[in-house]
Amino acid sequence: VLDPSLVTEVLQAALRTGGEFAEVFVEDARSSSARLDDGRVEEVTSGRSRGAGIRVVAGETTGFAHTADLSAAGLHAAAEAASAVARSGRPGTATVALAPWRDEGPDVRVLPEDVPKSAKVDLLTRADAAARGAGGGVRQVSATYADNRRRILVANSDGLMAGDDQVKSRFAVQAVASGDTGLQTGRESYGLARGFEFFGDFDVEQAGRVAAERALTKLRARPAPSGTLPVVIKRGGGGVLFHEACGHGLEADLVGKRASVFAGRLGEQVASTLVTLVDDGTVPREWGTYAVDDEGHPASRNVLIQDGVLTDYMYDFLRARSEGRAVSANGRRQSYRHLPMVRMTNTFLVNGTEDPDEIIRQTPHGVYVAQLGGGQVNTTTGDFVFGMTEAYLIEEGRVTEPLRDANLIGNGPEVLALIDVVGNDFAMGPPGTCGKDGQGVPVGDGQPTLRVQALTIGGTAA
């Protein structure tokens, strides 16, 4: 990507005004996507973004500049802009010695760029036909195929040099059904850190049928209840609960600013003893997986909560440095145009012991959530919400009528304490994009079937 001697020179130049730490992050990202809507492949798109972000740290201050010009002149201009804030430091000459690093290429079998576009488009038309074949009520179908390849190189003045070649593939179908109760929607999406070989194992027609059936089922759904009930969440359908209920609150940048309900609670019981929560960027081929984070540190498996006890937070370079501890490789950024910050990777609840069917049988009255949508949390209070996109009533220990979309609301620490059964059927969920301070990054989540004794459901039924 870049000549190491040029990178060394730029790092040294960046430290000339007195900065203590400098970093060059180079990214070459390519993406392609195709979208079908209204029965037609509307467009095929390709995108390309290449550039470098340079940061300089002096004391508590970070200077940052980025450029799409990877020539020596372009990089030096960015280094000068980034180092302008470091003028409080003592000017001098720094010597940077970079560790050698070898690009090993992506860990996939079929690079998306080597696949004919016609094969990608064909996936869309197959999903469309399957969704439309699912029932007469299906009125509209859209489907999206997307892949991207992101090659990064990170080098810093501590001598670290590392890189990664990240390939991802994603597919989503949305169906609209129409009936006496108006319009309803259903969606299904899959995504993994894999190349086009992904579509050898994953059935796009099945995805189309699932999306259509979700929409059709909701046509006969009744309004969700309004109030507090036991909630059983199907395996792989509700990992976002942990992402919102406590994941964000365990990010060390928020903890360090006391903007988290979990600040100062290491070693304390913060959840039911059935809860062991892990953030793991090493799970092979998962959506939130990488070889190194966007600060060049190898991904790791971090246990955040063990048997209900808070064991650790997630860290990036700056947060770890200020606390004098090791990073946890959670430093991520949306692109070379962004500063890194603490972000999750794949966050999941580990398996319990209960038979999932038994969990439902043991619930006289409640809600069964097969799929949650997105969510949002106020880390300061711990209050969170997330949407149910496929849910049913539980009556006398049986899953009965479908419910219309509604939000669930709760408080992180309270809900974690109210988890009273955890199943033995762990599964990862659909691919997610997590937003924080205006940056989106791919994240995974997962959980076995579980029950929360009481959650507030924001429906409209009395």
Binding site: T45, R50, A259, R337, L339, G375, N378, D383, D405
Partner: protein
């Protein structure tokens, strides 16, 4: 870097005979300063630029983009777009915009004070913002973020059909998130002031909003579930308007994804509701001379006295519906145009928020909502969102509540609007904020 209009014209000059081509080119300058504990936490400065190229050949559309204005890369990008077009399926309505004779509004959206502001002055604004937030109230225990940010730049659109247009815009803002604490309860607030130039920013107001609105939530409890009259904070109204805007997209209507399809002329809202999209209003932060396809921005009435007047169109959705584009194409360089709803605004009423509270008597004041992206289905119109705010009792704001939900459908909510406040104000997110009184909302709590 030569001007964005030159780059757009250059790309169009590479068109082959028989193909329609559109180049969208943007270039901007951004600054972002964050202050923390009396120091600059970070200072970022950048000049992002990029181009998107759309090619339509025999009704097949292809698109490609690049985050650079490098001529060699742009040539490759055009080749990619051409190649992509071969895999689209023919659509009789596909195509780039054609000049429609409508003159763009004369707007001056980059004030000289924004271009000339020195970095030191921007840094000082961020530091002052944090200082003022800490000093505002003894219950402030910290400030999670105190930011100054600005951005200004140019966009140009050129096509083989004779479009050659551009727009320039800039804005800046300060935003602060103070942490407040009392009796073991913590809340985080958010205060914001946006303007076209740093000298017009109102730091005092951002700080007062950020701190005072967080302080009044201290000690909040979960309310009882019931049906109530809700008074929406102006920012909450603006968030709902943004979602409503998506349902009024001509593309969603044509493809059967809008609850308003086929209902032009019908009563869809209470008679106090008048909604327009007006990006020609220079007060709107998403005002502009031209849209994402290079057509003049214009004023589009959507609902008048509760009756549905029309929808928003870009070129393709307009052709599909047999209508002209309303100049509502929205985009950046990395995407094709889609129908947007810029500068949405409700016609203001006559009474202040306090007068509205007095009229309502008993109800809830919804200060913040959360989970809109997951809790509102713009196709079915069902919504259910997290809500935080204050009870209204005896005609005035009373104790705070949290961990509640408000739910209804967009359609019912529009019909249940009882009154629109007089406190109309453009917000940086796009739509204008105004206090709104809505009857019969389901409040979910204990």
């Amino acid at each position: 870097v030569s001007g964005v209009d030159d780059v757009a014209a250059l790309i169009v000059s590479w068109a082959h005979p028989g193909e329609e081509l559109e180049a969208y080119v943007s270039h901007s300058r951004t600054t972002n300063v964050r202050a923390y504990q009396g120091q600059v936490e970070s200072l970022s400065a950048a000049e992002p630029a990029g181009a998107g190229v759309r090619v339509v050949i025999d009704g097949r559309q292809g698109f490609a983009w690049a985050g650079t204005l490098d001529e060699g890369v742009l040539k490759e990008t055009l080749e990619e777009a051409r190649d992509n077009a071969a895999f689209g399926q023919p659509d009789e309505f596909a195509g780039v915009a054609r000049p429609d004779g409508v003159a763009p509004p004369a707007l001056d959206l980059v004030l000289p004070g924004l271009r000339s502001a020195p970095t030191d002055a921007k840094v000082e604004l961020a530091l002052e913002l944090e200082r003022a937030a800490r000093a505002r109230d003894p219950r402030v225990t910290g400030v999670r973020v105190a930011t100054y940010a600005d951005s200004y730049g140019e966009v140009a659109v050129a096509t083989t059909t004779g479009i050659c247009a551009g727009t320039e815009a800039g804005m800046c803002y300060v935003a602060v998130s103070p942490l407040v604490e009392a009796n073991g309860d913590t809340q985080i607030g958010s205060g914001l002031s946006a303007a076209r130039a740093p000298s017009a920013l109102d730091l005092d107001r951002a700080v007062a909003d950020g701190v005072d609105r967080a302080v009044r939530l201290l000690g909040a409890t979960k309310p009882a579930s019931r049906r109530v009259t809700a008074v929406l904070d102006p920012e909450v109204t603006a968030e709902f308007l943004a979602i409503l805007g998506a349902t009024l997209s001509g593309d969603a209507v044509a493809k059967g994804r809008s609850l308003f399809a086929g209902r032009e002329g019908e009563l869809v809202a209470s008679d106090v509701v008048a909604l327009i999209s007006d990006p020609t209003d220079p007060g709107a932060f998403d005002a502009g001379q031209v849209d994402g396809e290079g057509l003049a921005r214009r004023r589009v009435p959507l609902i008048e006295a509760g009756s549905l007047r029309g929808f928003l169109y870009d070129t393709a959705s307009g052709r599909r519906a047999g209508r002209a584009s309303t100049g509502s194409a929205s985009r950046g360089y990395s995407s094709t145009p889609s129908v947007g709803a810029p500068a949405l605004t409700l016609a203001a009423g006559t009474r202040s928020p306090e007068e509205l509270f007095a009229t309502v008597g008993d109800g809830v004041y919804v200060q913040e909502v959360s989970g809109l992206h997951s809790g509102v289905n713009p196709v079915s119109g069902d919504f259910s969102v997290g809500a935080t705010g204050l009870l209204i009792r005896g005609g005035a704001l009373a104790e705070p509540f949290r961990e509640a939900t408000v739910a209804s459908t967009l359609q019912r909510m529009l019909l249940d609007v009882a009154e629109v406040g007089a406190d109309h104000e453009w917000l940086p997110g796009g739509p204008a904020g105004v206090t709104l009184v809505v009857h019969e909302v389901s409040l979910g709590g204990a």
